[in-house]
């Protein structure tokens, strides 16, 4: 097949796209630091805002899939939430995955 033959080739246009996307991404990963280090001292409100970053940002990656996902996703995430009260990340992932597979193949949800 044609695509098998150039598995190791890199198109210059695609490479350019990847490099520009990488620069844009790196900019987001240093931007906050550059902004903060330009401030002489950090106001307390900014500090408490920054302390809220983990809960605020990570939640936005969790809530929409739960609300807009099917019952299979909702059940799996609810199970993962309960498991998460006691167990670490990898266990949550494995049991959550088992729950979605059970919902799909055991109860025919979301398939």
């Amino acid at each position: 097949m044609e695509s098998e033959m150039n598995a190791f080739s890199i198109d210059s246009g695609t490479a350019m796209l990847i490099v520009v996307a990488a620069i844009a991404t790196y900019f987001t990963r240093v931007g906050g630091y550059v902004l903060m280090s330009s401030m002489k001292r950090i106001p307390p409100r900014v500090e408490s805002a920054l302390n809220a970053v983990p809960a605020a940002v990570l939640t936005t990656l969790v809530a929409p899939p739960f609300v807009y996902g099917g019952w299979d996703i909702k059940i799996a995430m609810a199970v993962a939430l309960i498991i998460g009260l006691r167990f670490p990340g990898l266990t949550i992932l494995v049991i959550g995955w088992a729950a979605v597979m059970a919902a799909r193949y055991g109860f025919g949800l979301g398939v």
Partner: protein, 248 residues
């Protein structure tokens, strides 16, 4: 060098490697998924590996490759990747005092490795009173970065054998993974109001303005909630008296 310092250094290295290994295992399905989808959308294996190595941001890569497959204009692809990765600005601001401690070259390298789990684990380690040194940070980051590239290549090679990600339950792994990361911060004093604001903001924005802007809108709302009430006094004396009262 003192033996105690040596012990610390060894702990930093082994703990960093261990944290990295856990993330490597949890993110492996996404690396494989990205590799498979990339080849499916016209990337070569080398191009897929290059993107994983340089952009190094799972969700943004999946969005980017999807648009690439639909022959969307390059600047729109870059803008979309930028939008998905925009949350990292908040990460680098929040970790300014941690990564800012590293010497120059290490500092700029550390920011390159600043992905979601790297951020979450770094905050958790500092919260636990252990310094997130560059040694620890780089040990974790290097494991995750190398495994991300390797799993991309594996997915690109065996992509056609994967089939429908939904049939294998891969689609649910990312939100559950982030759920686990979020729950790690439930001990923080304003976790619940911030989380509720972030959840409500992102859900409404997802419906009104659509993806990926719901991330920025939800995050902004959650952070605003944390910033509005007068900041709690850093050393709260009443807490001590409360503990004493309970003890009586």
């Amino acid at each position: 060098m003192q033996p105690e310092q040596n012990m610390d250094k060894r702990e930093q290295l082994t703990n960093g490697l261990k944290k990295g290994a856990v993330v490597a295992i949890s993110s492996a399905p996404f690396g494989i998924l990205f590799g498979a989808i990339a080849v499916d959308n016209g990337f070569s294996i080398a191009e897929a590996a290059l993107m994983s190595g340089l952009v190094y941001g799972g969700a943004s890569q999946l969005v980017g490759i999807e648009l690439f497959g639909h022959h969307v204009a390059a600047w729109i692809i870059v803008l979309s990747i930028l939008a998905v990765n925009f949350r990292h600005i908040l990460y680098s601001a929040a970790l300014a005092s941690v990564i800012g401690r590293y010497p120059h070259i290490q500092r700029w390298l550390a920011f390159f490795l600043l992905v979601d789990p790297q951020f979450a684990e770094t905050v958790k380690r500092e919260d636990a009173g252990k310094p997130a040194t560059f040694r620890w940070y780089f040990a974790m980051g290097a494991v995750v970065w190398v495994s991300w590239i390797l799993t991309t290549i594996i997915g690109a090679f065996f992509g056609r054998m994967i089939g429908d990600p939904k049939a294998l339950g891969i689609d649910v792994l990312l939100p559950i993974y982030f759920l686990g990361l979020t729950m790690g911060f439930r001990g923080r004093h304003n976790f619940f109001p911030v989380m509720l604001a972030g959840a409500l903001g992102s859900v409404v924005a997802f419906h009104v303005v659509g993806s990926p802007w719901h991330i920025s809108v939800g995050a902004a709302l959650g952070i605003l909630i944390a910033a509005i009430p007068p900041p709690p006094k850093v050393h709260e004396e009443p807490d001590v008296s409360e503990i004493e009262r309970e003890a009586m």
